[in-house]
C-alpha cells in the first residue's frame, strides 16, 4: 500500500490552500517590518548626526507604526511550522535537518536579537545613550533581516535542493555542506530580491501615509521630512529589486525552466525567444535576453520541456516520460533497499547503488502523466505581470514624487499624492504576486525534482483540513481587521511634529 492509492485528493489542494493562506497572511507583515526598520533607522541616524529633536520625533512616529505591525505579525509564521508537522509530515521527515537547521537558527536569532533590541528601541529613549539607542534600532532591523535570511535559505533549498545526500536507511536527506545550502545562488538571490522588496514596501508605506497627510493638509513637516527619506530609499530599493529580479530570472531559467515557461505562457521555445507583455503583445528576443543575457539565447517552452530537447550547446535534456521512467527505477530501487537491508545485504547494496544512480529523478516516479509537471499557467502568467507591473508603477511614482518635492510642487499636485497613496496597495499586490509566481510556478514540486506535493502531504481527511482552513481564515481576518484599525488610529493620531522656530 502506498500513499498515492489511499490519499484523498482533496487533501492536497486544501493543504496547499491552507499553507498559501498562512504564508500570504504572514507576508503582509514581514515586508513592512523589514522596510520600516530601514527607513526609521535612517531617520534616527539623521537625528544622531544632526542632533535635531525634530528627526527624533519623526523616527518615533514611524517606530510606533513599526511596533503595531510587528506585534500583529509576530508568531504568525509559527503556524507554518505547525502545518509542516501536521499537513506535510512526509515532507518534514524527508527534508531532514536541512530544513530544521535554518529554521532553528532563525528562531534563536529572532528571539534573542529582536526581543532584546526591540525593547531598548521602545523603552530606552530616555534610559540609554543616543548611540546605544541608534545601535539598537539598527540591530532590531538586522535581526529581522537575518531571520528572513534563514527562512529564505530553507525556501530556496526547496526550489533548488543542494548540499545534501539522501539516506534510504533513515529516509531523510542529510546535509553534506552547510555552505552549499546557506550560500546557494538561489538562496542569495531569493534573499536579496525578497528583502529589497520589503524595503520598497516600507518606503512606499511611509510615502503613502505621508501623501495622505498632505492631502488632508495636516502633519505637513512630518510628511515632507518622511517623504524626503522614504521616496529616495524606495527608488534605490526598487533598483535593487530590478537587479536581483533579473538575476533571479537567470537562476530560474537554469534551475526551474518550467516555472519560467509558465510565467511567459511559452509553449514552444527556441533561440531569440520573445517576451510577452500581455497575450498578443511581445518584445522580440527579450525573453532570451532576460533569461540568458544573450539576444540569441535558447529558452525552452513547456512543450520542449515535456518532450525533451537538445540545447544549442549539444546538451540533451530528457523528456518528461524518460524522467518518469528513471524516477520509477529510483523508487523501485528504494523499495528493494528497504525490503532487503536487514536480510540480504548484497541485494540491498545493489539496490542502493541503483537508487543513487537515478536519485535526481526520484520525484518524477510518482507522476502519472507528463502534464502533471505543468503548473497553473494563467495564474503564474498573470501573477508575474502583476508583480512586474506593480514594481514598475511604484518606481515611476516614487521618481515623480522625488522630482515634485524637490521643486516644491508636491502639495499642489493632488494626482501625485493620490498616486503616492496607491503605491501602498500596489506594493502588497506586487509582492504577494511574486510569491504566487515563486510557489505556484514550481508545482507539482514540494522539493524540486525529488518530492511532489501529492507524496509530501500527510494522510488526513479533507474535512480535517477544511475545518482548520476555515478556522484560520476567520482568525486571520479578525487579526487583520484589528491591525488595520489600530494602525489607522495611530496614523490619525499622529503628533503634529514641527521644527523648532
Amino acid at each position: 500500500m502506498n500513499v498515492l492509492t489511499i490519499l484523498d485528493p482533496g487533501v492536497i489542494d486544501w493543504s496547499r490552500a491552507q499553507f498559501a493562506l498562512t504564508a500570504c497572511y504572514h507576508w503582509l507583515f514581514v515586508p513592512l517590518t523589514l522596510g520600516l526598520a530601514l527607513v526609521m533607522g535612517i531617520m534616527e541616524s539623521i537625528y544622531y548626526v544632526k542632533k535635531d529633536p525634530f528627526w527624533k520625533d519623526v523616527a518615533r512616529f514611524w517606530m510606533k507604526l513599526f511596533g503595531i505591525n510587528f506585534a500583529i505579525g509576530v508568531a504568525t509564521g509559527l503556524i507554518l511550522e505547525f502545518e509542516f508537522g501536521t499537513n506535510w509530515s512526509n515532507y518534514s521527515w524527508f527534508v531532514g535537518d536541512i530544513f530544521g537547521a535554518p529554521l532553528a537558527i532563525e528562531g534563536i536569532v529572532a528571539f534573542f536579537m529582536e526581543a532584546t533590541f526591540i525593547a531598548v528601541m521602545f523603552f530606552g529613549w530616555h534610559k540609554v545613550s543616543r548611540g546605544f539607542h541608534l545601535a539598537s534600532t539598527w540591530l532590531t532591523g538586522l535581526g529581522a533581516t537575518l531571520s528572513a535570511w534563514w527562512i529564505l535559505v530553507a525556501n530556496a533549498w526547496m526550489q533548488d535542493p543542494v548540499g545534501m545526500e539522501f539516506n534510504p536507511e533513515t529516509v531523510r536527506n542529510e546535509m553534506v555542506s552547510f555552505a552549499a545550502v546557506a550560500l546557494s545562488p538561489s538562496a542569495v538571490m531569493k534573499f536579496l530580491h525578497t528583502v529589497s522588496c520589503g524595503w520598497v514596501t516600507g518606503a512606499v508605506f511611509v510615502v503613502g501615509v505621508s501623501c495622505w497627510f498632505l492631502l488632508r493638509k495636516r502633519n505637513r513637516q512630518l510628511a515632507h521630512a518622511s517623504i524626503k527619506v522614504a521616496a529616495v530609499v524606495g527608488c534605490l530599493a526598487s533598483l535593487v529589486v530590478m537587479g536581483t529580479g533579473d538575476q533571479s530570472g537567470v537562476q530560474i531559467a537554469r534551475k526551474q525552466p518550467m516555472k519560467l515557461a509558465a510565467a511567459e505562457g511559452l509553449r514552444q521555445g527556441g533561440e531569440g525567444a520573445p517576451f510577452s507583455i500581455v497575450p498578443g503583445v511581445e518584445i522580440p528576443s527579450m525573453l532570451s535576453i532576460l533569461a540568458t543575457h544573450d539576444v540569441n539565447g535558447y529558452v525552452p517552452g513547456i512543450d520542449n520541456l515535456l518532450e525533451g530537447y537538445t540545447a544549442p550547446d549539444g546538451t540533451v535534456h530528457l523528456s518528461a516520460q524518460e524522467k518518469m521512467e528513471r524516477g520509477r527505477l529510483a523508487i523501485d530501487a528504494f523499495s528493494r533497499y528497504r525490503q532487503h537491508r536487514a536480510t540480504q545485504p548484497g541485494e540491498a547494496a545493489k539496490a542502493r547503488q541503483e537508487l543513487t544512480d537515478h536519485m535526481e529523478y526520484f520525484g518524477y516516479g510518482y507522476l502519472e502523466s507528463p502534464e502533471q509537471l505543468v503548473p497553473n499557467v494563467p495564474l503564474v502568467y498573470w501573477s508575474f505581470r502583476l508583480m512586474v507591473g506593480g514594481g514598475g508603477y511604484i518606481l515611476l511614482v516614487l521618481l515623480a514624487v522625488v522630482w515634485l518635492q524637490r521643486r516644491g510642487l508636491l502639495e499642489t499636485t493632488p494626482v501625485a499624492l493620490w498616486a503616492g497613496m496607491l503605491t501602498v496597495p500596489a506594493a502588497y499586490i506586487a509582492s504577494q504576486a511574486g510569491w504566487v509566481v515563486a510557489e505556484v510556478g514550481r508545482q507539482p514540486w514540494a522539493i524540486q525534482h525529488l518530492l511532489p506535493v501529492n507524496v509530501a502531504v500527510s494522510q488526513l481527511t479533507t474535512t480535517e483540513v477544511v475545518t482548520t482552513f476555515c478556522l484560520f481564515a476567520l482568525i486571520f481576518t479578525i487579526l487583520l481587521v484589528a491591525e488595520v484599525k489600530i494602525m489607522c488610529n495611530a496614523i490619525k493620531q499622529a503628533p503634529d511634529v514641527r521644527r523648532e522656530a
Binding site: M1, N2, V3, L4, K64, G67, I68, A71, I72, V74, A75, L78, I79, F82, E83, G85, T86, S89, N90, S92, W93, F94, A119, F122, F123, G124, K127, P168, E169, T170, V171, R172, R328, I331, D332, F334, S335, R338, G365, Y366, V455, S458, Q459, L460, T467, T468, L471, I475, L479, A482, I486, A490
Partner: protein, 78 residues
Amino acid sequence: MESYIFVPMRQLWHPFKAVWSFYATGFREMTWGRTLWLLIIVKLLIFFGVLRLFFFRPTLSGLDAEQKSERVGQELRR
C-alpha cells in the same frame, strides 16, 4: 570578611537589577503598547492553547526515529 563575599555579589547582582528595572519601568510606562501586548497574548493563547493543542498534532508524533523512518519509507514505496 563581609566585604569579600557580599560586595562582589552585590556588584554581580547590579546589572541584572538594572536590566529588570529597565524592562519593568518600560512595561509600566507603556501607553498604546498595552493594547498590542493584549493582542499578542490573545493571539499566542489561540495559537498554542487552541490550534496547536486541538487541531495541529504532528502526524508522526509519538513515534521514535526508527518508526518514523519506517512509516515514511512505507508511504514512499510503490
